[in-house]
């Protein structure tokens, strides 16, 4: 696989980019067929063929009927004992967006996607810059934006910010708008300005290689990307409510916005979360909102509150990192991307 992709992407020609999707799972890919068989919805819409390759790799052939046409393609899975999988494919973007990604979403909570907001991606790019000794790696940022007091759909289209001050411009945009990252383009060149890697990445853990050595992409770019994923998985881990020697330990985290959340945005969150989770509001008045939430697919449950510029999530009886990461993403998908941080501990109950 390495030599084929190395040859393929070192040749400048028009071809679909190589996509690498980072997934979180403690299972091995040979369980995929069983996971697929146990999900009625996946069985109804997708055809799956699984085969084991050499070197611990597996091949998935996925097929789906979309508007009367059969869309199919292949994906190679590389599991890692640290609890993640890398899914590679060089099929067209349509197949990835409409077949692979929805199929993987359907495997939750056994296989979970990762979610990054623009702040997290920018931090990753900074780490990449350090790895490539100060080279500027960012070329473009595609964002969707909406006025802070707006409701309903995001503005149509995508705003592209190009290099030379794109990050500063992004900060300015964040002050005026609620933002959602679409993708970030990068170009890494050596000191003689010769290209090393060209590609892009999305907030859903999909990295695309347009040009460059697969070995370089895999060993440096994906290595750093996975390290960032694992760091955030760690952030969301071990947060469930614990009772130790009669003392309750809570580990809440919060989403902090640069603006006060308004009633309309709160109503929008409430409406969206109600469609995804089992949800019971405690306070629905403006602008203090509190609710009890259960992720009935995964079994995790949380306390949830919105007050001022903060959304606080308090993991309760069971709280997997996958469920907590997903919830943080669902909220940001509604009211915009923001800082995700641990609530400082102040007091413990006895």
């Amino acid at each position: 696989m390495v030599s084929i992709f190395d040859r393929l992407y070192m040749t400048p020609s028009k071809k679909p980019s190589l996509k690498a999707i980072v997934l979180l799972s403690d299972l091995t890919p040979d369980k995929l067929e069983a996971l697929y068989s146990g999900r009625k919805r996946l069985k109804k819409y997708y055809f799956l063929q699984y085969s084991l390759l050499s070197d611990g790799l597996s091949k998935l052939t996925l097929q789906k009927e979309i508007r009367g046409k059969t869309v199919s393609g292949e994906v190679i899975l590389e599991p890692n004992p640290s609890g993640y999988w890398l899914a590679y494919t060089n099929e067209p973007g349509y197949f990835v967006r409409h077949v692979v990604e929805p199929f993987l979403n359907g495997l939750y909570p056994d296989v979970s996607r990762v979610y990054f907001n623009y702040k997290q991606i920018l931090k990753f790019l900074q780490a990449l810059e350090i790895e490539y000794k100060g080279s500027s790696v960012l070329t473009s940022i595609a964002i969707k934006r909406q006025a802070k007091s707006g409701v309903g759909q995001k503005e149509r289209g995508t705003l592209l910010l190009w290099e030379h001050g794109a990050e500063r411009e992004l900060e300015k945009q964040a002050e005026r708008y609620r933002l959602w990252i679409d993708h970030i383009g990068f170009e890494i060149r050596d000191q003689s300005d010769l290209p090393i890697l060209f590609g892009s990445m999305t907030g859903r853990g999909v990295a695309r290689l347009r040009y460059g050595s697969f070995t370089e992409f895999s060993q440096k770019f994906l290595f750093l990307f996975v390290a960032t994923v694992m760091k955030w998985k760690e952030f969301f881990s071990n947060r469930e409510r614990k009772l130790v020697d009669g003392t309750v330990h809570l580990s809440p985290y919060r989403l902090r916005y640069p603006f006060e959340l308004e009633n309309r945005q709160i109503a929008e969150i409430s409406h969206r979360l109600e469609n995804i989770y089992s949800f019971s509001p405690i306070h629905e008045s403006n602008p203090y909102f509190a609710a009890s939430i259960s992720d009935y697919v995964d079994g995790s449950s949380f306390g949830f509150s919105v007050l001022g510029d903060r959304v606080t999530i308090t993991p309760l009886s069971k709280a997997t990192p996958f469920a907590l990461w997903k919830l943080a993403n669902r909220i940001q998908a509604v009211i915009g991307e923001c800082e995700v941080e641990t609530v400082p501990q102040r007091l413990e109950a006895t």
């Binding site: 409510r241 019971s280 203090y288 079994g299 449950s301 306390g303 007050l307 102040r346 007091l347 109950a349």
Partner: protein, 337 residues
């Protein structure tokens, strides 16, 4: 009393807020040592005759020489006078404090702003009926909790503790409670500390336990349904009760009974079936997938309440003799002549 959907939701929210107030009082004394020392939740205190008393929250001040206890009430109805007389007993809880005994114990009854009218009227009646000096003395106070926004616009809503009547002898507490607006409950309580526990000593409404069980306790599986015993549910739920309830056999029975009643209500709603063994239940996974669980269960409860009312028939109306005669009504004087 019939339960409509709105009232069902309101009671659910009110119980949640009562739990938050209990956490808030704990937080208040832990973060402001100048107010006094937090002694415990349902801490065992004793009268001179060694009668055991356990107010909801006990605090001491003046170098542990004085006691101040709080009794937090989720709902006050017909039993309001019993609640008041029970609160009165706490003034005798002078033993069992960190320094052994205290000189005197002040009592604060904390209730929702919705209930303060009932409490004040009952106190008035008790004063008239018994001429009991306790309710007018320094050492007994009623506080209310409420959620409201501050006067400045665009400021977040806050939960407040406010004085209603009476006063305690803890001057620091009095100064704070009589400051503008009352005591503002810490934001940390509203955002996350309120989820530390799910219960106070007052019995929660059945919808509260049902939602608690479906959100946090009943396991989610891929099976269509599963059988689970009351004991297993109780074990899973136990950590959500405040820890001081752990040991006493009587309280274990009380908690178990609350859960049992909720499960029996789910059986009556035909959402859960009785299991194959004694005290087991068959839970369908679909029950745990209700999107707006509060709406769903309150609709069901309101329907059951209406059905029960139809079966019982209407409560007979007792026509009362008006104490004052309406204007224009003929008098009996011509007849008596």
């Amino acid at each position: 009393m019939s339960l409509n959907e709105q009232k069902c939701k309101r009671l659910y929210q009110k119980y949640h807020d009562t739990v938050a107030v209990s956490v808030a009082l704990y937080d208040l004394f832990r973060s402001n040592p100048l107010l006094g020392k937090f002694v415990g939740e349902s801490h065992q205190l004793f009268t001179f005759d060694n009668e055991e008393l356990t107010p909801d929250i006990s605090t001491s001040y003046e170098a542990n020489s004085e006691g101040l206890v709080f009794e937090i009430k989720y709902s006050i109805g017909a039993s309001v006078k019993d609640v008041l007389l029970s609160a009165k007993r706490y003034r005798n809880a002078v033993k069992g404090w960190p320094n052994g005994a205290v000189e005197h114990v002040d009592v604060v009854l904390v209730c929702s702003a919705e209930d303060t009218q009932i409490v004040c009227s009952a106190i008035q009646e008790l004063i008239e009926e018994t001429a009991d000096p306790f309710f007018t003395s320094k050492g007994f106070a009623v506080w209310q909790w409420m959620v409201s926004s501050t006067r400045e616009e665009m400021r977040p809503e806050a939960m407040w503790l406010q004085p209603v009547m009476g006063a305690t002898r803890n001057s620091s507490v009095e100064q704070l409670i009589h400051s503008a607006g009352g005591i503002q409950i810490s934001e940390d309580v509203l955002t996350h500390l309120r989820f530390q526990h799910m219960f106070v000593r007052d019995k929660p409404p059945v919808q509260f336990i049902i939602i608690f069980l479906t959100h946090h306790i009943l396991p989610k599986t891929e099976k269509e349904s599963y059988e689970i015993s009351l004991d297993t549910i109780y074990q899973r739920a136990n950590s959500f009760f405040p820890p001081w309830w752990e040991s006493a056999e009587k309280t274990v029975q009380v908690k178990r009974q609350w859960i049992k009643e909720a499960l029996e209500m789910l059986v009556e709603m035909k959402l859960v079936e009785v299991g194959s063994k004694e005290e087991t239940y068959r839970v369908p996974s679909a029950l745990l997938r209700k999107h707006n669980a509060l709406n769903f269960f309150c609709k069901k409860l309101a329907r059951i309440s209406r059905r029960r009312r139809r079966v019982r028939g209407r409560v007979a109306r007792i026509r009362r003799i008006p104490s004052r005669m309406a204007e224009g009504m003929p008098t009996l004087e011509p007849f008596l002549k």
